[in-house]
């Protein structure tokens, strides 16, 4: 398991992050494509859910994938909680997806969305056990696309 930037702790930090992201947006070229950048975008995607009272985990998972490649992240979820999984990439023009399956391979998410470099999926587990977040790069201008996944619960 990979551990990445884990410094966000409050609304203030989120605001600071947005400031940094705003500064990054005026940089003309993506000079340093890293998973850490993708983690920052994933936390950006998580912000609305933080505001809704979800606790966003400090752990993040990520790597890089080719277009149409998929990866499974296995997760222990608990019946009674609601979870949001948020995925992002720092690669401009890329799009990706995240969907949640149970240990039998059935799609079990309550809802999901996909907006360019961001994607999300919500699940209210019907039982406690092992689930899989299936992440995929749908399209990308790059051969390998970095991605990051975070999740929140309440």
């Amino acid at each position: 398991m990979k551990h990445f930037l884990n410094q966000l702790s409050s609304m203030q930090t989120f605001r600071l992050l947005f400031g940094v992201l705003l500064m990054c947006s005026v940089v003309p070229a993506q000079l340093h494509a890293t998973v850490d950048d993708s983690v920052s975008f994933a936390y950006e995607a998580a912000l609305p859910y933080y505001k809704q009272g979800f606790s966003i985990r400090k752990d993040a998972w990520g790597g890089d994938l080719g277009v149409h490649d998929k990866k499974a992240v296995s997760i222990q979820l608990f019946k009674g909680n609601t979870y949001w999984f948020l995925m992002a990439t720092e690669v401009k023009g890329a799009s990706l997806s995240v969907h949640i399956y149970d240990d039998k391979g059935d799609l079990v998410e309550g809802e999901s969305w996909q907006k360019g470099r961001f994607a999300g999926a919500r699940i209210n587990p019907k039982s406690t056990g092992t689930y899989f977040a299936i992440v995929q790069i749908l399209k990308s201008p790059e051969e390998r696309t970095t991605w990051a996944l975070v999740y929140g619960y309440k």
Binding site: K71, S74, G80, T130
Partner: protein
Amino acid sequence: MMNSPLHTIVASLMLLLMIPAARADIPPKKITLSDFPAAAVDEVVVPVPSEIFAVLDKLGNPNWKAQLREGKVKTPEDRARTALLLGNVIAEGFVAVESEDSERVKEIGRQVLTLAEAINVRKSVITRCKSITDKADARDWRGVRSEFDGALQDVRAAMDELNDHDLSQLVSLGGWLRGTEVLTSIVQNGFSKDGAELLHQPELVNYFDRCIGSMTPRLRKNPLVSHIRDVLRKIGPIVGESGSSITVENVKTIHDLTREVNGQIVSGGNKS
């Protein structure tokens, strides 16, 4: 009104334009998990205790104060035990947050710092520990919970940077063991199927077993680590049962096993 031919054409064109975007992300209703080779499956995401505690709060009104462990911990000389104890103490922090005991939370924050120093990762948690104190004073429990989560990740990341991956895993394992002891204690006290189902964590237990199996022979042979592996192998078949099959006797068995091993993590015991 959308009755004119022009409107119909525009609507059809819009629909056509939308189709590729929609097609881009229509997940299959069923997948074959075995299609994912080992390299395509990330290791198990280890939950923090508060993910489970949040459910317990919804199921009832647990007496969190009764779960708090008394006394201060002493820093062991054995690095493996120190790593396990660090995870154990951070998990205790989550219990103190649930019981909204600000003094206990602050004391645990100091213990985290002391234990982190013993394994050379103090620097990574200084800010967290200060923040734990500040937020406990402000009774910002959501904030404290977030800081304990952050402390856990920070010490693990710092250990990974030092190439102490095995110790990093032991921190997670120590946290899980203490979290499970508390979970089983609460579920036993007010047994319900929903509460017992929270113990259905087969992949997580297997994951910890695999982690120990991949550690250096020296660490694997550490008496405490070896004993924990034995305990995991006793717990595995129980938590592997479907959630609704976990009986009150099963819960007690897991509680007794984790309580005993946590006692050894805290005090050393005669196995190390």
